[in-house]
Symmetry: C2
Subunit: 257 residues, 2 copies
Amino acid sequence: MQTKAHEVPTVHPCHVCDSRGGCLGRQLVENRDIQQKLFQAKRIQHKGEHVFREGETADAFYVIRSGSVKSYLVTEDGEEQVLGFYLPGDVFGLDGGDDDQRASSAVTLETTSLCRFPHAYLADGVDGANLIRVAAEQMQRDHNLVLILARKDADGRIASLLDDLAARYRARGYSGAAFVLSMSRQDIGCYLGLAVETVSRTLTRFQECGILRVNRREVEILDHAALSKLAGARAGARTASGCAAGGGGEATLAAAC
Amino acid sequence: MQTKAHEVPTVHPCHVCDSRGGCLGRQLVENRDIQQKLFQAKRIQHKGEHVFREGETADAFYVIRSGSVKSYLVTEDGEEQVLGFYLPGDVFGLDGGDDDQRASSAVTLETTSLCRFPHAYLADGVDGANLIRVAAEQMQRDHNLVLILARKDADGRIASLLDDLAARYRARGYSGAAFVLSMSRQDIGCYLGLAVETVSRTLTRFQECGILRVNRREVEILDHAALSKLAGARAGARTASGCAAGGGGEATLAAAC
DNA sequence: CGATTCGTTGACATGCTTCAAACTTCGTGG
DNA sequence: CCACGAAGTTTGAAGCATGTCAACGAATCG
């Protein structure tokens, strides 16, 4: 970027994007007018309101300034599959259908402030490499979820989620050791492919093992090392028939407890 | 696009991208020289060769002209998680790490010809909206895999994969009713989060039910309706505790057999 | 203050993984 | 060209993790 320190910034600095290297709008477009337009396209939404719904025209993506959002899609059977939880600084809404229709929905989990990035502003004069970088970030998240769903058991999935949330809160300057979940057990289950009962039971068991303390939505991580170990654990102890088995170690709750 | 019919095309037309609306290079950049460069950056790789590996610099993405590729990542335990299978016309390699390092690897499943799209050519003068569209396509694939892994049982997963492959072959002008799998049972298991034995058993059972005929890597779909029904089926019969249960129907193998 | 949603706990059923072994195909070298 | 070994595929039996069903307690909301 070519912004010098002595220049008067025409765009208000927004520290929520700091972890990614500063305001995303500035990263993507150089045109000041468009930067200004982007910055002005803010939104505040109350808990439970949709940012967009499946089937709507996908003409923008978003960055969270404060609050949190979940994205999800609905199966043919009417079931909900949560695709991700987004925190301040996160980008979401990049996915769209072939015909520019939203393939997923996004809803706020609490009162939330958003930056809106209309595609129209990005039709030209965009840094494609930076745009790819943003998209790649999202894909990596998705891939991580795939890995969790395909290879980890209930303990590993819950531990992974908590570990991930803790790391993200920490990276944003909040405490990674104690935080409040903005999503329900239902949401967690729908995200991790587990029944609500399993989520509840697993959290209780973690607490009994002294790994964390949980009271409704409040979570306090007591033994982060154990949590990380569980998060890295695979579903079973494949040795012979596993996919390209390596020499990795294993972490069972019993071992960590 | 502003290419007129009477103009002499400087870039060789490549029908493999037709299903997406013509050559991807032309869609993304207008500069003829860069289009020409893109077209010249072809590659042919033999079976089992890597296109890129985790940790390498992510400076390009690819389109398959012929053959097939699987992308995968390796867990901390040394296990492999297949993220996707790519056929002619498919784009892959858009995902990258925070620091532009590959977060996944890609390897050919057979002799394969590729188009290479270096990010450097896309640094400027790119149609951002079109680029987002390409990335969104990939994300939708990922989301579909998440849904399969989180919500479907073994039958549903295998059926979904076969149904998907059939549809993709059909869309490319090949037969969707009979094709040869370019991936092993192992790969399928690593993709769908199932043990190899489960993959094998499920295929056998599908055959016994008259849904398909399978001999090693050769697959012939006999009852596509039944397969689709199974593919759309959810893992269980959640009624009360399921995530936002709807009125969708169910399809068990028993019902379709 | 009652109704509804959310979270927890228990008992039971089952689908998948794991372990074990045989068979087939393919590649390699004698 | 055949023999041999390695890898891929199939089949069987048993154990266990997770889903399902059911019921209760707690918090939230109007």
